[in-house]
Amino acid sequence: MGAQLRTVRRRIATVKSTAKITKAQELIASSRIIKAQQRAHAAGPYAREISAAVEAVVSRSGSIHHPLTTEAANPTRAAVLILTSDRGFCGGFNASVLREAAGLNALLADRGVQAVPFVAGRKGIVWHRFRDRVMGGEWSGFSDTPAHRNATEITTALLEAFGKPASDGGVDEIYLVYTEFVSMLTQRPAVHRLLPLEITESTEAGPIPVYEFEPSPEKVLDELLPWYVESRIFHALLDSAAAEIAARRRAMKSATDNANELLEALTREANKARQAEITQEISEIVGGANALAESISGS
């Protein structure tokens, strides 16, 4: 067998086994995406109810003075919670979240605010470590199936940082950077400010009933706001998980498509090489026979 044919066949084998792996990853992601979407969907009622309740308290008490809603006069430090994935194989998923976070950092720096990254997901942690960026907190191991206690952990750390003055290692603002799951084909990085809370009253729900509060509006708000923050973070974790899996499915699908295309081109090349070899062999035989016939007739 000719050397060229051998190398082409070896490449075909490599591409084939790569295609098998990416195809498997694509199928795994397709089966997981439905589950991830269901989980995000199931978390909807809790998130809606808690937002409605916070709105109700705020609309009732008019102007509220709560540490979690009070803007710092001169913010100097801000926590940026970045949600990335634990595993790779998901295309530009992590790159686009980290790019969004870098954009936010630049905006904050313009205002003279120093950003402190809080990172969830191994890929983001590694990215920050490699660049020697000091992180305020890091969590990993749950990016594709987040549980509520993961949100609780993150919230506790962030609220603790928010409770401290900036001069003492605390932060004045908290931002959240994650990927929104728009559809199977579209996932969009998004930035939200978590704290201080900007409470906007939605007008679609109609008039809010006049609640009685037990024990008191202030106490209810005290309990409610941390849960509200936690619910926002949990929602973001679920959304980001669904987006990660969708991104992985898409990346793996295009990798499989690419591999198949490559396979076609390589097969064609292999056929050509084989044909060239045969042609060469025939012409060698014909040339040899001619030479022999000439030498016989010439003698």
């Binding site: 199931a42 809790y46 309740a53 109700a56 609640y211 037990e214 209810v220 849960w227």
Partner: protein, 134 residues
């Protein structure tokens, strides 16, 4: 007229349906809810039991659920109980919960914080919801 009750935790809904009445415990004390109740937004006592009497059930049909922190909102005969964690009484594994409770009490008294931390309270509520003494 009936109450429409939903019991929700962050991961999803654990019970919903029509009910005749329900009883919950807020920080101020027990509150019983029938149809036509004024709108209320109350913080639930940590580690308490919410009891619901579904529509058309006799006095033996009460459903109990243990809740560990949460709140309750009532308006227009709609009752939402939002809990950070909650389990229906019928789903409680009594033996395992009792073992957990003893371990939690042990840990709490070893830590010198007395016996009444949130975890102990929630585990006690689980047992009460399952119909045991705790």
């Amino acid at each position: 007229m009936t109450l429409r009750v939903t019991l929700v935790v962050p991961e999803g809904e654990i019970w919903s349906g029509n009910a005749e009445r329900m009883v919950a415990k807020t920080l101020d004390g027990e509150i019983g809810i029938l149809t036509g109740h004024t709108p209320v937004l109350g913080v639930l006592a940590h580690g308490s039991v919410v009891r619901i009497l579904p529509e058309g059930e006799g006095a033996s049909g009460w459903i109990s659920a243990a809740v560990g922190g949460g709140f309750l909102s009532v308006s227009d005969d709609r009752v939402s109980v939002l809990a950070r964690q909650a389990v229906l009484g019928e789903h409680v594994d009594r033996a395992a919960t009792r073992a957990d409770l003893e371990a939690a009490i042990g840990a709490a008294s070893a830590g010198g914080q007395g016996q009444d931390n949130d975890e102990v309270g929630y585990l006690r509520a689980l047992l009460r919801a399952a119909g045991e003494e705790a």
